[in-house]
Structure formats: structure tokens, C-alpha cells
């Protein structure tokens, strides 16, 4: 186990991974509650165009990523939570921005690793400066979630009711998507644009199957995201395969196990009940 933290790049990966897992786990509950899973997924893909565009302009890809996810997040938030055609609109924008991303990659000839890192994550390439930036961004996102916690919960459950009680529902929707955009930008470093679901949505989706207490669901989501990240990093260290593969596989396997266990548990309860009757 000592070898694991012998290298700086592993220490940085664990530090950044921990911050990101906490943020992703916390925000994931609201993503699931608000039915915004597709929006979260789309944000990362839209961000891809921004990141590749930044590379073409010789800027840090994270800046382009953040600019595009924030812009898209605010726009999606302004569309509101109720709009039925929202997902279609998001999908249309998503397809176009991915097309843009392809263009930008072709313009920036000869350096496919950059694009590869964006798509699938590059947590083992994180510098100590990146860790500090991630930590600062992570603290800001968490503080923002805490500040809007109650009204966000309220408007996620019943927007009409929350609006009647004086909650600024549209402003909250925009604020939440902006927070999500920052979280997505952070998480892209670990799992990349394509695999963002595994860190933001899967842990929360598993957590809400265990508990219907909001605070407990958030805590469970964080613990799961941390477990996937830490275990994924540890396994990857001793194997030639990429970290993203292990993180996403751990998340997927846990989800499948929970879904399979659920009806079994229900059946066992029923059998126990009928046997005792």
C-alpha cells in the first residue's frame, strides 16, 4: 500500500479525486431529484467544444470547458424545470456543439492526446496547481449548494408551491445549473466528458434507492463517489488499464447489484411475511 502514495502524481490524483467525488456526490442528489440527468450529461459534452476550441486558441482547455458549460448551464436553467421539450432542445444544442468539437480537433492538427484526455479523463496528469484550483472550485460549489439548499430542495419537489411561498424558482434553476457546470468542469478532469454520468449521476441514483431522507441520500452519494474514485485509483495503480474504466465499472457494477438485490429483498420480505402468517 505504501507504493500508492510514493509518487506525486498519485497523491495529486487522490487529492483532486477526493474533492471532486465529494462535490459530484453532493450535487448528484439534486440532479436526480430534478430529473436533470440528461442536462448534466449534455453539459459535459457541450463543454467539450469549449475545451477543444480553447486548445485551438492555445488557451487552457479548462477555461474553454468552464465557459461553455457555464453558458449552456445558465441557458438550460433559464428554460426552466417544467418545459416538456427541454431535453429535445438540449439534445439539439448538444449535437451541434459536438460537431463544433470535431471541427476544432481537426483545426488543431496532430495532438489527439489532448482530445483523448478531455473525453476520457486524465486524473494521473494532475499538477499540484490543479489540485489547488480544484479545491477552491470545490469549496465554492459546496458553499453555493449549502446556501441554496432548502429553496432548491423545495423548488425541485414542487415548483408551483415553492414559487407561491416566495422562492425565486427561475433564479434558483439558473444558479443550480451554473453550480452543476462548475462541478462538471471539475469532474471532467477525473473521468472525462464521456464518463461524467458515473461520478455525478450514478452514486446519487444508487443512494436514493437506499434512503428517502434528503440529507442521508446526499451523504450516501458522497460516500459512494469517494469509494468509486479511491478504489478506481488504487486498482488502476496496480494495473495497466485506465482509471476511468475502473471508476465507471465500479459505479455500474454497484448500481446493477443494487437493482438486482431490490426485487430479491422484496420477495424475501413477502415470503417471510406469508410464512409467519
Amino acid at each position: 500500500m505504501g507504493d500508492l502514495f510514493h509518487y506525486d502524481f498519485m497523491v495529486h490524483a487522490f487529492e483532486a479525486g477526493t474533492v471532486i467525488a465529494i462535490v459530484a456526490g453532493a450535487i448528484g442528489y439534486f440532479v436526480v431529484l430534478r430529473g436533470s440527468a440528461f442536462a448534466a450529461h449534455a453539459l459535459s459534452h457541450i463543454g467539450f467544444a469549449g475545451a477543444t476550441g480553447a486548445v485551438v486558441l492555445s488557451l487552457n482547455p479548462i477555461i474553454g470547458l468552464l465557459a461553455f458549460t457555464l453558458g449552456a448551464g445558465v441557458a438550460i436553467g433559464a428554460l426552466g424545470n417544467r418545459l416538456r421539450s427541454r431535453d429535445v432542445t438540449i439534445g439539439i444544442v448538444l449535437a451541434w456543439t459536438l460537431g463544433l468539437g470535431v471541427l476544432f480537433i481537426s483545426l488543431y492538427r496532430g495532438y489527439a492526446t489532448q482530445a483523448y484526455a478531455l473525453l476520457f479523463g486524465e486524473i494521473l496528469g494532475i499538477s499540484s496547481t490543479d489540485v489547488i484550483v480544484t479545491l477552491v472550485a470545490g469549496v465554492i460549489t459546496l458553499v453555493a449548494v449549502v446556501v441554496i439548499y432548502r429553496p432548491l430542495l423545495f423548488s425541485s419537489v414542487d415548483e408551483d408551491l415553492a414559487a407561491a411561498r416566495g422562492v425565486p424558482v427561475t433564479a434558483l434553476s439558473v444558479a443550480f445549473m451554473a453550480i452543476l457546470a462548475v462541478a462538471v468542469t471539475e469532474a471532467v478532469q477525473v473521468v472525462g466528458v464521456l464518463l461524467i454520468f458515473a461520478l455525478i449521476v450514478t452514486p446519487a441514483a444508487i443512494a436514493v434507492r437506499f434512503t428517502s431522507r434528503p440529507a442521508l441520500a446526499i451523504a450516501t452519494g458522497i460516500v459512494l463517489a469517494l469509494a468509486f474514485t479511491w478504489l478506481g485509483l488504487a486498482i488502476a495503480f496496480y494495473s495497466p488499464h485506465p482509471v476511468s474504466f475502473f471508476i465507471t465499472t465500479l459505479a455500474f457494477a454497484t448500481y446493477v447489484a443494487v437493482r438486482i438485490a431490490e426485487p430479491l429483498r422484496a420477495r424475501m420480505t413477502r415470503t417471510a411475511l406469508s410464512a409467519s402468517a
Partner: protein
């Protein structure tokens, strides 16, 4: 009637969205502690009235006061159940958490102080609607009647003076409708609450209501059920021939309305 005794006073009140008027020139006074059913065809402006009372929509014209003040958004003295409130089966939240949002869901941050008080208020409210048994279960997995009770608990938890219930009965079977109306009537009487309830069918409400408020053809008309639910006045309100029939158990059937409502283009 003096304004002190009125929960809602409106004079020459008009409502609409932009240039499109929904209804106009409403003059009415709803006494405190009374139970009023709001009836009328779809799209007649029942929910517009609700939005106006909640302060979500300013009147286009006229005077209105709710509980002695102009309508204002977030008025804690109004307990509200919105239209079409039933929860997604996957919604991961307990009934208890939802009722808790009625206490302080509009406040920023997380609940730090007053946890015990909030929990006690939630508990009392849940008990008052008889929802203790399932308040800790997942909200989305509860039956329509159970969800409706918890919605009511949420509306009651802040200790309001008025209940504003937008179609609380529409997803319930007849037995549950009667049980919920009975519950609303009992709670309102015990606490002296003014109740405004939007419904499609007046029958489950008849034993409990003091007034009916009809909204149709851009007009509001209010009176005692016996005055309003007659062939003459409904025909006038709807400006089409409508007949009110009563069966041996006192239930009323409004005939001639269904065709008009379901075939508005003919």
C-alpha cells in the same frame, strides 16, 4: 359586511395575462372562516384567481385585499396546495421532509437552529391530517389520498389563516374525495380557517361548503349553494340552457354543461 370580517374583498376586479382578459369586474366578499367552492369550466380562470390571491399575478384592474392586505407573494398566512400535485414515484423524499419544506423551505441555507421546533410542528401537522402511519415512507410511492393528506399537512404546518386548494380532489376516487373534504372541513372548523377549494364536482363538497363561486364567461358569481346551483342561475352564468337535477340523496347533477365544456367548438 365590514371588511374586518372578510378574508377576501374584491371590487371591480379584473384579471388577465397581458392584453388577454380572463375575467373582469368581479365584486365579492368572502367571509373569514367560511368554506367556498370555486367552480367553473376549464380555462375559465379559476387558477388565475388563485395566482392573484397568492400575489403571483397582479390584477389588471380594480381592488383586492387578502386577509386585510394587498396580495403578496410568499404570504405565510395562506396555506396552498397547487393544482396537479402528485409526486413522481421515484421522488426520493419522505412525506415528513416534504411537510418540513412548508415550515422553512423558502429560507436560504440549511436548517441550523429551531430543529426541534420545526420537527414538532411537522409532527403535529402530520397527526392533524391522520398521516402518521406513512409519513416516513417515500412520498412518490404513496397513494393519491395519502399524498393529498401530506400536501394538506404541508399547507397547514405554518399555521395559516386561509387554505387555498387548487383541485385537491381531482386524482381521487369518490370515497377518498369524501374523506379529504371531511378532513378539510373538520380542520378548518377547528382552527377557524377560511377555505377556498377549486373543484370540478360540487357533490362531495355540498355538505361542507358555505358558498360557491362560479367562474364562467369572464364573470365571477358568488352565493349560497342553494341560490347558485339552480337551473336559472347556472343558465345565466353559462349563458346557455343548463338544468340542475337533484336525486333522492340530495346530489345535484348539472345537465347541459358537459356538452358545452367538452365540445366548445360546436
Amino acid at each position: 359586511m365590514s371588511d374586518d370580517a372578510a378574508a377576501i374583498v374584491a371590487r371591480d376586479l379584473s384579471a388577465g395575462y397581458g392584453a388577454r382578459p380572463v375575467w373582469s369586474q368581479a365584486t365579492l366578499s368572502i367571509p373569514k372562516g367560511s368554506f367556498t367552492a370555486i367552480l367553473g369550466p376549464n380555462g375559465s380562470g379559476k387558477s388565475t384567481l388563485v395566482r392573484l390571491i397568492l400575489g403571483l399575478l397582479p390584477p389588471t384592474k380594480g381592488f383586492v385585499e387578502v386577509l386585510g392586505e394587498p396580495p403578496r407573494r410568499g404570504n405565510p398566512r395562506i396555506g396552498y396546495v397547487p393544482q396537479g400535485s402528485h409526486f413522481d414515484p421515484e421522488l426520493s423524499m419522505r412525506g415528513r421532509d416534504f411537510v418540513g419544506l412548508g415550515v422553512d423551505g423558502h429560507r436560504w441555507g440549511v436548517r441550523v437552529t429551531g430543529r426541534a421546533n420545526a420537527a414538532a410542528a411537522v409532527d403535529t401537522s402530520i397527526a392533524s391530517v391522520g398521516a402518521r402511519e406513512y409519513a416516513d415512507r417515500q412520498l412518490g410511492r404513496l397513494s393519491g389520498g395519502e399524498q393529498q393528506r401530506l400536501l394538506l399537512a404541508q399547507a397547514l404546518v405554518g399555521g395559516p389563516s386561509m387554505l387555498l386548494l387548487d383541485e385537491p380532489l381531482s386524482h381521487l376516487d369518490v370515497r377518498n374525495q369524501q374523506a379529504i373534504v371531511q378532513l378539510i372541513g373538520d380542520v378548518a372548523r377547528a382552527r377557524g380557517l377560511t377555505v377556498l377549494l377549486i373543484a370540478h364536482d360540487v357533490n362531495p363538497l355540498l355538505p361542507h361548503i358555505d358558498h360557491v363561486l362560479y367562474i364562467a364567461h369572464g364573470r365571477l358569481e358568488m352565493g349560497r349553494p342553494a341560490e347558485i346551483i339552480t337551473s336559472e342561475s347556472l343558465s345565466r352564468i353559462y349563458s346557455s340552457p343548463v338544468e340542475v337535477l337533484r336525486d333522492s340523496r340530495g346530489r345535484v347533477f348539472v345537465v347541459g354543461l358537459e356538452e358545452e365544456v367538452s365540445h366548445p367548438h360546436e
